[in-house]
């Protein structure tokens, strides 16, 4: 059988009827093979082309991880602080207005008194704990070990307000607090730095020059929402700290903040309103005048910081997204070069029977493949990068589950968008012109 007969014999009866169109298009897998072949043919160029998308996707993944990590952390930290907590602090912001500036003077920002604490305790019904606090930074010494830490003067109510627990020992009681006994509860960080692994309870420490007896160790609490180590603290009766440690700068009845814990989440707003009213009365603030204190509840802090962080995350991702667009432009550039370089190939493919959309899809697939492979590599690098940031850096990084589909989805989109024009150019080439091209 000769060659021509061989070919004819293979044609099925259906083929011999020769419909003008056959609907059985070439299988996609073949187009994928063509695209893959072209990519593999120039490995270096393909790698460099994808690099833009690699960097873009890696950046987006890392940035969203940082943002989401921060969001998660702050949420859990603020929740651990107690979302039904209302915090009263002196307001330093009484600038402007008639004589406001002059009347302030040094230390005028500190405007909370024991009397305020009492008033709140007596008059705000839904408060389960009202805890005043003074704070100072001090050098603490124990048997030659030395540690600079935060010293807080508190009352036993503070444990309730902040949901603090003890790892060992006990909290001082109300009587000891009133007497200003020199007893202290220390945080885990302080315990570790002063006493190593030995039990601190019963040991003596000196805070600046004042000796205290350690009677308890706090449970570990970790970092606060503002990046503070909550275990790096020494707590002692308010009276003792105020008179012995920060007294020089304070009037004898001054407190720096007041923590008020509402009986439940729903009562937070009510408590905040009541506290505000009590404080305005205490401070004799006329209707229409500004408060000389600030009052925050943790729920609103949580909301505000979450909103801020969400914005921050979007901003980070958007900045990173710019590099993804730059990567897309790189792909478009190379695809345009490829179309020019392979004009004759396109003409030849058309001559042997490729339809315009076969060419279109082949080049679009090539572009998407470049972008998608870049996206995949970028995703891996981004995830690893986020891990490194979480491990090495102080920044919490959490990789949200949606970052994978998002990264791959976006890189496919980039490939499609930036491959569309080159592919369209390839598909609309005139086969005669294309074959003639040198």
């Amino acid at each position: 059988m000769n060659l021509i007969q061989l070919q004819r014999a293979e044609a099925s009866p259906a083929a011999r009827r020769r419909p003008r169109r056959d609907r059985a298009a070439m299988p996609w897998i073949e187009l994928v093979r063509f695209a893959a072949g072209a990519i593999v043919a120039h490995p270096m160029r393909s790698v460099l082309t994808s690099l833009g998308v690699v960097i873009g996707v890696a950046a987006v993944v890392m940035m969203t991880s940082i943002g989401v990590g921060a969001q998660k952390q702050i949420t859990s930290r603020i929740a651990s602080l107690g979302s039904n907590l209302v915090i009263v602090q002196p307001s330093a912001a009484r600038l402007g207005g008639g004589g406001g500036f002059l009347s302030q003077g040094a230390g005028s920002g500190i405007s909370l008194r024991d009397g305020d604490v009492e008033a709140i305790r007596n008059r705000v019904e839904d408060a389960v704990a009202v805890a005043p606090l003074v704070r100072s930074q001090a050098q603490v010494v124990a048997e030659g070990a030395n540690w600079n830490t935060r010293v807080e003067g508190v009352t036993p109510d503070y444990m309730v307000a902040r949901d603090l627990g003890l790892a060992s020992g006990r909290m001082f009681d109300d009587r000891e607090a009133r007497q200003g006994r020199k007893v202290a509860i220390i945080g885990q960080t302080v315990a570790a730095n002063l006493f190593g692994s030995s039990d601190p309870v019963g040991q003596r420490i000196r805070v600046r020059t004042v000796p205290f007896e350690v009677i308890g160790v706090l449970e570990a609490k970790g970092q606060s929402s503002f990046g503070q180590d909550q275990d790096d603290v020494v707590m002692a009766p308010l009276q003792a700290v105020r008179s012995r440690l920060v007294g020089r700068r304070l009037r004898g009845d001054t407190v720096m903040s007041i923590y008020v814990k509402a009986a439940s989440d729903d009562l937070v707003d009510q408590v905040q309103e009541d506290v505000t009213n009590v404080m305005r009365e205490q401070h004799k603030i006329q209707p229409g005048d500004d408060d000389d204190f600030s009052i925050q509840n943790m729920a609103s802090v949580l909301q505000a910081s979450q909103a801020a962080l969400a914005t921050f995350t979007i901003l980070l991702a958007a900045v990173a997204g710019v590099s993804l667009v730059v990567g897309g432009v790189g792909i478009m550039n190379i695809m345009l070069v490829a179309v020019t370089e392979r004009t004759r190939e396109i003409g030849l493919r058309m001559a042997v029977g490729a339809k315009r959309h076969d060419i279109l899809i082949q080049f679009a697939l090539e572009s998407v493949a470049l972008s998608l492979v870049g996206g995949l590599i970028g995703l891996i690098i981004g995830v690893l990068g986020a891990f490194v940031i979480a491990k090495v850096g102080a920044w919490p990084a959490a990789i949200p589950a949606w970052s994978g589909p998002l990264a791959l989805g976006f890189s496919t989109l980039v490939g499609l968008v930036f491959g569309a024009y080159p592919s369209w150019r390839a598909a609309r080439l005139d086969p005669i012109e294309a074959l003639r091209r040198e």
Binding site: L3, Q5, E10, G37, R349, V352, R356, I432
Partner: protein, 227 residues
């Protein structure tokens, strides 16, 4: 098999209208071996492009086995080229990335032939054109004559009704050119319809029929010296 009736192809270049084909009527029967000759610009390339379904006439009809090819859209033309036409170009037009075998497979890919069958048929084609031992070679590893034979194998891959060759020996030396022509002779003897566009009198002489173009018109249509 092929019937052109009063074919015109007009290009608009700026203000001017250039008639590349100016009323061409031509019939070619199955199994013929036709040489199309004429000086450059005489319209033979335009004829070839229309014949091969790469281009459409401006006016006039082109029927191929009764089908109105002149009225096909782009997809139908692609389909037509795939099924019915095998192209052989002066510059071979092999894809440099692909092996000889893969080059021959290419038209069958667009025809949706399965991979295994494609491979088998392409190998048989290469055996047939005498390149059975060079299947894995890239075009750059082959001589000009070998490359043209790969191109011929590719043109035959989908079992075309018509083999269209444009200066098939133009890039070859005399000896390899003769080999390619001999292969054409064999294919024609097996029943394949052959249309060769050429300047070369030796190539034209091999055809049984010679159609001469000048200024977009057929000026002569006669039997050449049979090979």
């Amino acid at each position: 098999m092929i019937a052109f009736k009063d074919l015109h192809k007009i290009y608009i270049m700026g203000e001017e209208r250039v008639a590349a084909l100016d009323g061409v009527s031509l019939e070619i029967a199955a199994g013929e071996h036709v040489a199309v000759v004429g000086p450059s610009g005489s319209g033979k390339s335009s004829l070839m492009n229309i014949l091969g379904g790469l281009d459409r006439p401006t006016t006039g009809t082109y029927r191929f086995d009764g089908e109105d090819v002149g009225g096909f859209d782009d997809d139908e033309l692609a389909e037509f080229r795939r099924r019915r036409i095998g192209f052989v170009f002066q510059s071979f037009q092999l894809l440099p990335r692909l092996s000889a075998l893969q080059n021959v497979e290419l038209p069958m890919v667009y025809a949706g032939v399965s991979r295994g069958e494609r491979r088998e048929r392409a190998a048989a084609m290469l055996d047939r054109v005498g390149l059975g031992t060079r299947k894995g070679h890239k075009p750059t590893q082959l001589s000009g004559g070998q490359q043209q034979r790969v191109a011929i194998a590719r043109a035959l891959a989908n079992g075309p009704d018509l083999l269209l060759a444009d200066e098939p020996t133009g890039a070859l030396d005399t000896h390899t050119g003769e080999e390619v022509l001999a292969l054409f002779g064999e294919l024609n003897a097996e029943g394949l319809t052959l249309v060769v566009v050429t300047h070369d009198p030796d190539v034209a002489a091999q055809a049984r029929r010679r159609v001469t173009f000048r200024d977009g018109k057929i000026v002569q249509d006669d039997a050449g010296v049979a090979a």
